[in-house]
């Protein structure tokens, strides 16, 4: 079954040997790898890059400076790894131009590794801790993120030198049926959201009548707050290309598309470079690795609408029409692009493929849980200390993910909920912290793996507002084709907006619940079907919070602007600092004859500036909900006393 074809193997060995030779030479010199993915750039990586270049030129050093992708530690961007002989390889975080210059001067010129800026060592050593010395290292298990940030995504030799494309070589010497069997045995489930078994999808496409067949990589990633796919495209594009090529060979396709949103210019640039380089090396194009297999991969730049990530809409969009979903069945695997059998897989799903083919299905099933093997990649965001990408085995508990990998809640606040899976997902409460994460457990809890967005919420986040926020997104992104989603999300949004603005009615919670259930069942595509999840989970787990808004006009998290008012505590105000007065954009703060400050409620626009401005040693500005009644003009003094009244 596994007929070894020496030609393919030889062709590959040759390529890898060349690449290893080239990268080996690099190791003689000091190497700086600077993360310049979109996240790094947002934190200022490009000016750090310029500073490194400038300083290296000034000293006329022979240093290799390479731009890489995302290392996953977004909280510490800009981030660089420096390799120098005689020293442990180290990550340096939160870089700026000054630190970059010092690293060149002190470390590269003068052999002082500046441990004070170092974050972590990449290899065990006697001087500095590695990831394994932190809880994060214990819980993280990197498969598809492993090389991100450590290879130059625009240099195929980096990927090849680390055995890249060896899985493709192995696949091309194997029977496609064996490949599909291997993926089926690995129980790999699609990472695009729904968790459909990848091997079964491939098999259906392979067995379907019709030619040509297509494989499409879904890199639309329209979910706000998700950026795992972007990071993979920007950091390790060849891993995806290899997976895509294997998929194409397995199902018998000669043409592939990568549907990538046009808002990802850097990803597109790096993908294009990767395509050119792999084609030049004979890893794509005609007669791949002398195997006789031909493969063309095209980039398709999508309009970026969220619904275009839905597979039937995505296909319509590639066909040149507006991206609007269609009824399934037929499923794309039997009738997809141009009515032909088509496999659509997510970027992450395809990125696992080379690893599974290289290491075997049983290696993959040894990680994670029996029904959801492998790892899960999350984009940690919100009120968690260490934001960024985290790859953990399926079955890791939310608690470990948030407290050990994410290092807990910012500013010692209290954890309230975690929103998983973006607009299609749900909010889980503290009682769910010990839930172990996999496709099925999340679904049972009312959330969803979705695109891997994980937003941690604390006591200052209002759950009604969170539900409103996500529904506002889906309502705007609804394509408008079908009744339940087009009008149902609008009705739910209006109700939620009413509640957050103090216009909630007693029957609203039940109405929301009923509408949510009907929209889930009645909508045509996944967007509509999952859009009620944020509403359903917040009602299920945080109903008292809805009730407080409706019955008492009170927002317990003090977040909904219509339901709060700002006050200055006379006991806490220093009387002499005046900072709040300057901070107020609408001159709503006044000084009383006794120098205490007060706020005119009718002028206050609730911008929160005074609260931020009031120095931490006083913390005299407070929010009250329900808002304290407006005091009549001329009696401003009594209102200040009200704020002091413990009854509030």
């Amino acid at each position: 079954m596994n007929s070894v074809s020496p030609a393919i193997e030889q062709a590959y060995q040759l390529l890898r040997a060349e690449a290893q030779q080239k990268t080996e030479i690099l190791k003689e010199k000091p190497v700086i790898l600077l993360g310049t993915a979109t996240c790094g750039r947002a934190a200022g990586a490009m000016s750090v890059l310029a500073a490194f270049q400038d300083e290296i030129a000034k000293h006329q050093l022979d240093v290799v400076l390479r731009e890489t992708g995302c290392m996953g530690h977004c909280y510490a961007e800009p981030l660089a790894a420096i390799f120098k002989k005689g020293f442990p390889p180290l990550y340096y975080g939160s870089l700026d131009e000054g630190k970059a210059r010092r690293l060149v001067n002190d470390y590269l010129v003068n052999d002082d590794p500046c441990y004070e800026f170092a974050m972590v060592a990449l290899e065990p050593n006697d001087f500095f801790p590695t990831f394994d010395d932190y809880p994060r290292g214990i819980y993280e298990k990197r498969i598809i993120l492993a090389d991100c940030g450590l290879i130059d995504p625009e240099d195929i030799d980096h990927y090849l030198a680390r055995d890249g494309y060896s899985a493709l070589a192995k696949a091309l010497t194997s029977d496609p049926a064996w490949l599909i069997e291997e993926i089926k045995t690995s129980k790999l489930r699609g990472r695009g959201g729904a968790g459909f078994p990848t091997g079964i999808k491939w098999e259906a496409c392979k067995n379907a009548h019709g030619a040509p067949k297509y494989v499409i990589c879904n890199a639309d990633e329209g979910d706000p707050g998700a950026f795992v796919d972007r990071a993979l495209l920007e950091s390790n594009p060849h891993q995806l290309l290899e997976g895509l090529a294997i998929a194409a060979y397995a199902v018998g396709a000669k043409q592939c598309y990568i549907y990538v949103r046009s808002e990802y210019p850097l990803a597109i640039k790096r993908l294009k470079t990767a395509l050119e380089q792999s084609t030049a090396r004979g890893l794509l194009g005609q007669n791949v690795l002398d195997s006789g297999f031909n493969l063309e991969i095209r980039l398709f730049q999508g309009s970026g609408a969220f619904v275009c990530g839905e597979e039937t809409a995505l296909i319509t969009s590639i066909e040149g029409h507006a991206g609007i979903p269609n009824h399934r069945p037929p499923y794309p695997a039997t009738a997809g692009l141009h009515g032909k059998p088509t496999v659509i897989n997510n970027v992450k799903t395809l990125s696992y493929i080379p690893h599974i083919i290289r290491n075997g299905a049983s290696w993959f099933t040894s990680i994670g849980t029996p029904n959801s093997p492998g790892t899960a990649v999350f984009a940690l965001a919100g009120k968690v200390v260490s934001t960024g990408l985290a790859e953990v085995p399926m079955g890791t508990s939310l608690r470990h993910l948030i407290y050990d990998v994410g290092n807990g809640i910012k500013d010692d606040k209290k954890f309230k909920a975690v929103q998983i899976g973006g607009p299609s997902g749900g909010c889980l409460p503290e009682s769910s912290l010990d839930l172990t994460i996999d496709f099925d457990s999340l679904q049972q809890a009312g959330a969803m793996m979705g695109s891997g967005g994980m937003v941690v919420l604390d006591e200052d986040d209002c759950m009604v507002e969170i539900a409103r926020f996500f529904l506002d997104f889906t309502q705007k992104e609804s394509c408008g084709k079908c009744t339940f989603c087009r009008l149902g999300t609008k009705q739910m949004l209006d109700i939620l907006t009413g509640i957050t603005e103090g216009r909630g009615r007693e029957q609203d919670i039940d109405l929301l619940w009923d509408l949510a259930e009907d929209i889930k069942l009645g909508s045509l595509c996944g967007l509509g079907k999952t859009s009620p999840n944020p509403v359903l989970t917040t009602i299920r787990y945080f109903r008292p919070e809805y009730e407080a808004h409706i019955r008492e006009g009170r927002c317990p998290a003090l977040m909904c602007k219509s339901l709060i008012s700002y006050h200055i505590e006379p006991d806490l105000c220093s009387k002499l600092c005046n900072v709040c007065i300057g901070s107020c954009p609408v001159e709503a703060i006044y000084t009383r004859p006794d120098m205490l400050k007060g706020i005119y409620p009718d002028k206050c626009v609730k911008c929160n500036s005074c609260m931020v401005a009031c120095p931490p040693q006083y913390k005299a500005v407070v929010k009250l909900s329900p808002p304290a009644p407006e005091s009549p003009v001329g009696e401003r003094g009594s209102e200040v006393e009200q704020a002091n009244n413990p009854d509030h």
Binding site: A305, A322, N326, H327, Q475, K476, E477, S478, C479, G480, K481, C482, T483, F484, R486, L487, G488, K490, Q491, D494, L511, D514, L515, D518, L521, G522, S523, L524
Partner: protein, 226 residues
Amino acid sequence: MSKLITLIIDDKQVEAKEGERLLWVALDNGIYIPHLCDLRMARRTVASCRLCFVEIEGLPNPVTSCTQTVSEGMVVRTRSPRVDRLLRTGFELLLSNHRLHCAKCAKNKRCELQKIAKERGLKLKLTRLRQLVKEAQIDESPGVFCYDSSKCVLCGRCIWADQEQVKVGAIGFIRRGIGRKVATFEDGLLADSICTQCEACVKICPVGAFYLKEDERKPYKIKKEC
């Protein structure tokens, strides 16, 4: 090619060609299922109105009968608590964005919404939902007919007639989400478009969105109504 099969709809045994769409099999056998968007002649079902749900034995959830093909031995229920609930909500959702004023409507007594309400005992008014206020937006530019988008339920039938039946291509859907509407290419007047005023859209519109001027009982001023 297609062989005859037998299935059961609401305890009634019916014969049909295998692979036919369940909605039309039921209707042909005198069993009513509410529906707006599907057309017997159309090649492709759009399944957008979401009113034609039925229960099928062995399937966990109600399915749209316009997308369901029939097969031997299938057992169908056109009514169930879940189906009725979906219809009630779907119908009220459509009404919430439909400028209800039947008495003055050109399609009064010939309207598909009225028919659904009558068949299923639903009220032609909002009981739980808020009216998403819609002002009349009437294009009176064609010679003998008008187009009032505030009556449109977005079933897409007119677009099918225009594009597939008479092959003119004057109208289509524009915008997305709640803003989705039937319009000419540049959202202009029909008379300024390539519209040939063949009236195919008027004949096929199930509600009072495309209507003949002669059917208008009393001319009315453009105003907000519920």
